[in-house]
Symmetry: C2
Subunit: 236 residues, 2 copies
């Protein structure tokens, strides 16, 4: 975890986060109060049970937020990408972290002290509003997941996951299809939809056989979005 410093003004994810509405004076104020860290793939930003001291703001890279149960089983509850904040949930409720955050690849993440971020919320209504918006959106996603568990089978949840990943990490290829530009193991995908990796692999294979998706090395390419949407909305 090397430390170095980049100005927020030059951050490649500058426009997408909760600080997007700030002017350059306010931004440079934040710049001065933050620490920038580089995490290697597999390193934790924080682990379940730790006490939170501030807010993490991802500049580059994908971070997975996961919970481990009593039996040691991992569940990925969400994936956070460049521009997003992380660690806010526990920070604002003043509990210890209820999940672990791990870099899925080499990542650059800034850290803001709790006192500073609390002051920012009080003084800059746009920051408060953006945090409220972000929490609301994330909560919507979490509640969707809950009802999907009840109402959909594994095949349907997988179709849904692929479409969500397309939204969050999709990139157009030369031939006009969408490539899911994030490296995920089958195990990780399985824990995202709450199934066993053998089961997940089986349905991935089915989707490939049926021409709904294709594989490009580690990456999945969406070939038939309409059909995936049909499955995600349950039809069998």
């Amino acid at each position: 975890m090397k430390k170095n410093k980049t100005a927020c003004e030059n951050c490649e994810s500058r426009m997408s986060g909760v600080f997007c509405d700030l002017d350059s004076a306010e931004l440079s104020n934040i710049s001065e109060h933050k620490v920038t860290n580089v995490y290697k793939k597999g390193q934790n930003l924080f682990v379940q049970g730790n006490h939170p001291y501030g807010l993490y703001c991802v500049s580059r890279g994908n971070i997975k937020v996961s919970k481990v149960g009593a039996d040691g089983k991992e569940s990925i509850v969400r994936i956070v990408k460049g521009g997003d904040v992380i660690g806010h949930r526990s920070l604002f409720t003043d509990q210890n972290y209820t999940a672990t955050a791990t870099a899925m690849e080499d990542s650059t993440v800034c850290f803001l002290d709790k006192k500073f971020i609390m002051k920012a919320i009080q003084e800059m209504p746009s920051v408060a509003m953006n945090i409220i918006e972000k929490l609301s959106r994330d909560m919507g996603a979490a509640e969707n997941k809950v009802s999907s568990f009840h109402q959909k089978n594994v095949r349907e949840r997988l179709a849904e996951l692929l479409l969500l990943l397309k939204e969050s990490h999709g990139e157009e290829t030369e031939d006009g299809h969408i490539k899911i530009n994030i490296k995920l193991t089958r195990e990780e995908m399985a824990t995202m939809i709450g199934t066993a990796n053998e089961t997940l692999i089986r349905f991935i294979s089915e989707f490939k056989d049926e021409g709904l998706i294709e594989q490009d090395g580690k990456f999945i390419i969406i070939k038939d979005e309409d059909e995936l949407m049909n499955w995600a909305d349950a039809n069998y």
Copy 2:
């Protein structure tokens, strides 16, 4: 849905909500901008797909927030009681409602116009902060649910549900036990943990046979909390 008006200052849930830190001048300002409605059991405050025009603030009664899937199956994603706000999630993301809110019993609910509540957030940092806290807490609960689905079986999820209901709706009885003071059908409990009602009934019966819980009319009484906690944290 009869209308009448009660001052926030006299609201029985005044101290528990997002407006709890306001002084009486601020409170009476809110009082003047709200509408108070009484909903009969079974009536909807809003339904999935509607456009949100403001914020609901529950004064008295329990409101269930549920989603229906493509197959018509209902899932209760959370239950909101007196003092809590509802409808904020969709309001702040400016989407249509993604769930339906239904009164579980005759309830009193106030409604605040969107413009007014947005202004309140800008001008009263405590309101913004309380909303952030509430969203964070709710989101923690939702993420716990997601990982429970993956990591726990029905018996364990039921034990967990009973303990959560004890926290949110528990009341001490004369003989020192805790009674879950909310009327829920087996069907409703089943949809809260994503199972079939027959299955839920099976495990409720088991818990009764084993002396972990007892029934007092429509209400459940926790008899052996420790054992329930063991089950909720998974041990089989």
